[in-house]
């Protein structure tokens, strides 16, 4: 390749993985990684989890690895415009970088509650700054409201309870985790949150949120009001597409890429939370995922294709969530499933397998303490990838090793 080199915008999971994957594949030209946060790249999942090292920031790679691998990391620098014809990227500070191939790994930004500005008391959660601002309210005598019963909201509720904070969680839908998690497991999680003392209000309409001097007042559609120290809004995220959209790249619920993760400009790739892609294991349906492993895997495939390979991205979607001592893991996409088979591993650990009309395994969701469901979910992922028609009786019987079905 020429000497313009490889440029990556966004130093999160996807961007960092891609930068190192370029070197692991023997690329010798320049690799420039641009990130607008003032930190070394860090992992986001711990930000919402009450794990033992609460408050510490875990780096994605040790800082010296950038120099060792010959990766130029431009920290705290924002890319502001992209000229497709000139293969040029402009940074906020004025610098212009030319690229042979460009990767957009710009991630996603939290959705805001309509009409509600963030403040000392109103927060969203994406960055380490957000996390430490939220933690300041997670005190023993504190009272926090969480808007949204998605993963981040539920994990924060668990963290709050662990730290002794009074937590009220609102979900507009009739139950938490409406998207992507089967009802049975969502209800089991709800029951656990209730047992831990979280006040859980589902199907509740919020009328007003008043950010005052000494607290935030939330008014409900039914006239009730509550007062809290702080509010965390956890109602999803939207892909950071502005740079791509302004340059004229195709956008479709994220930067639209093909199965090689190429955008509508063949010199430009996209990976991670910012992109939507055809999910080959599910008939090429276009999806956008917000998942840590997906970001890494797409970063590696994008790197291969930036170097001229034609690798297809065909991983089965997978994610996890930790709440209290429970871990939820989901492999695959259950939309289109016509039947569900349960496998009970222990009184606290269960897996649900979702099958299509032909008996093919589409997805598996597991909930249990620690690593209880991990092995079976991983094996289910392999069965899904192979398009296996699995015998429901074998799936339901915990004494049948799933490995034997491979």
């Amino acid at each position: 390749m020429g000497d313009k080199g490889m440029v990556i915008v966004g130093a999160g999971e996807a961007g960092v993985r891609a930068a190192f994957a370029l070197r692991e594949r023997g690329y010798q030209g320049t690799v420039t990684l641009i990130g607008d946060e003032p930190h070394l790249p860090y992992e986001r999942p711990p930000l919402s989890k009450g794990s033992e090292e609460a408050g510490t920031v875990r780096a994605i790679v040790a800082s010296e690895r950038f120099a060792e691998a010959g990766i130029t990391f431009l920290r705290g620098q924002r890319a502001i415009s992209l000229d497709l014809a000139r293969h040029a990227l402009r940074l906020e500070a004025g610098e212009i970088l030319s690229y042979e191939r460009l990767l957009l790994a710009t991630g996603a930004a939290p959705r805001r509650f309509p009409g509600l500005a963030t403040s000392d008391r109103i927060h969203v959660l994406r960055t380490v700054e957000d996390a430490s601002a939220i933690r300041r309210h997670m005190r023993e005598d504190g009272r926090v409201a969480i808007l949204g019963g998605g993963f981040i909201g539920l994990e924060l509720a668990a963290m709050g309870r662990k730290l002794g904070t009074a937590v009220t969680l609102f979900e507009a839908q009739p139950r938490v985790l409406m998207r992507g998690v089967p009802e049975k497991l969502a209800l089991a999680l709800q029951a656990r949150h209730a047992a831990e003392g979280v006040e859980l209000l589902c199907g509740v309409g919020i009328e007003t949120i008043a950010d005052g001097e000494s607290g935030v007042t939330i008014g409900f559609a039914d006239g009730r009001r509550i007062e809290v120290d702080a509010v965390v809004v956890g109602i999803g995220a939207q892909p950071n597409t502005r740079l791509a959209a302004e340059a004229g790249l195709a956008i479709d619920n994220g930067i639209a890429v093909d199965r090689h993760l190429a955008t509508s400009d063949p010199h430009i790739f996209a990976a991670g939370d910012c992109c939507s892609f055809p999910v080959t294991a599910y008939g090429g349906r276009r999806v956008r995922l917000e998942s840590w492993r997906n970001a890494q895997e797409q970063g590696s495939v994008a790197a291969a294709n930036m170097l001229g390979e034609a690798a297809s991205f065909d991983a089965v979607p997978w994610f996890w969530s930790d709440q209290y001592d429970l871990t939820l893991q989901v492999a695959g996409l259950s939309d289109g499933a016509t039947s569900t088979v349960g496998r009970t591993l222990s009184p606290e650990a269960e897996i649900l397998f979702h099958l299509d009309a032909e008996g093919r395994l589409l997805a598996a969701s597991g909930l249990g303490p620690g690593g209880a469901v991990a092995r079976d979910i991983r094996l289910a992922e392999m069965l899904i990838a192979r398009g296996t028609r699995a015998d429901p009786a074998a799936l339901a019987d915990p004494s049948v090793k799933l490995k034997s079905l491979l």
């Binding site: 040790a62 890494q296 620690g370 690593g371 991990a374 991983r378």
Partner: protein, 104 residues
């Protein structure tokens, strides 16, 4: 000083599988490979403090149950993101149908 510690009966570990073994305040993972050889590593992943015994063994690889970080359990080598620190390995012998690991 290093000593051989009795872990378990050979048949308590399935082929291509792993068990947890705790001894003197430390935790280990003891493996039986598809070729019927026995191996041992530190019990916890080098990414987070998660026990590997719930993970999946495939050929020479143990996959961490938490985020699927992969190690070669024969050499301890970390096989890439998210794990970058190798696992410590321990010598293993089978004597009279019992599995022993060398610690210390």
């Amino acid at each position: 000083m290093s000593t051989w510690i009795d872990v378990c009966d050979k048949d308590e570990i399935d082929e291509e599988d792993v068990i947890r073994f705790d001894h003197a305040g430390k935790s280990y993972a003891v493996y039986r490979s598809p070729e019927d050889s026995f191996h041992a590593t530190d019990g916890h992943c080098t990414h987070e403090n998660v026990h590997l015994a719930d993970g999946l063994v495939m050929d020479d690889i143990i996959e961490c149950p938490k985020h699927n970080g992969r190690f070669n359990y024969k050499t301890g080598q970390a096989k890439g993101a998210p794990v970058c620190v190798n696992l410590k390995t321990y010598a293993v012998k089978v004597d009279g149908g019992r599995v022993f690991i060398q610690v210390g």
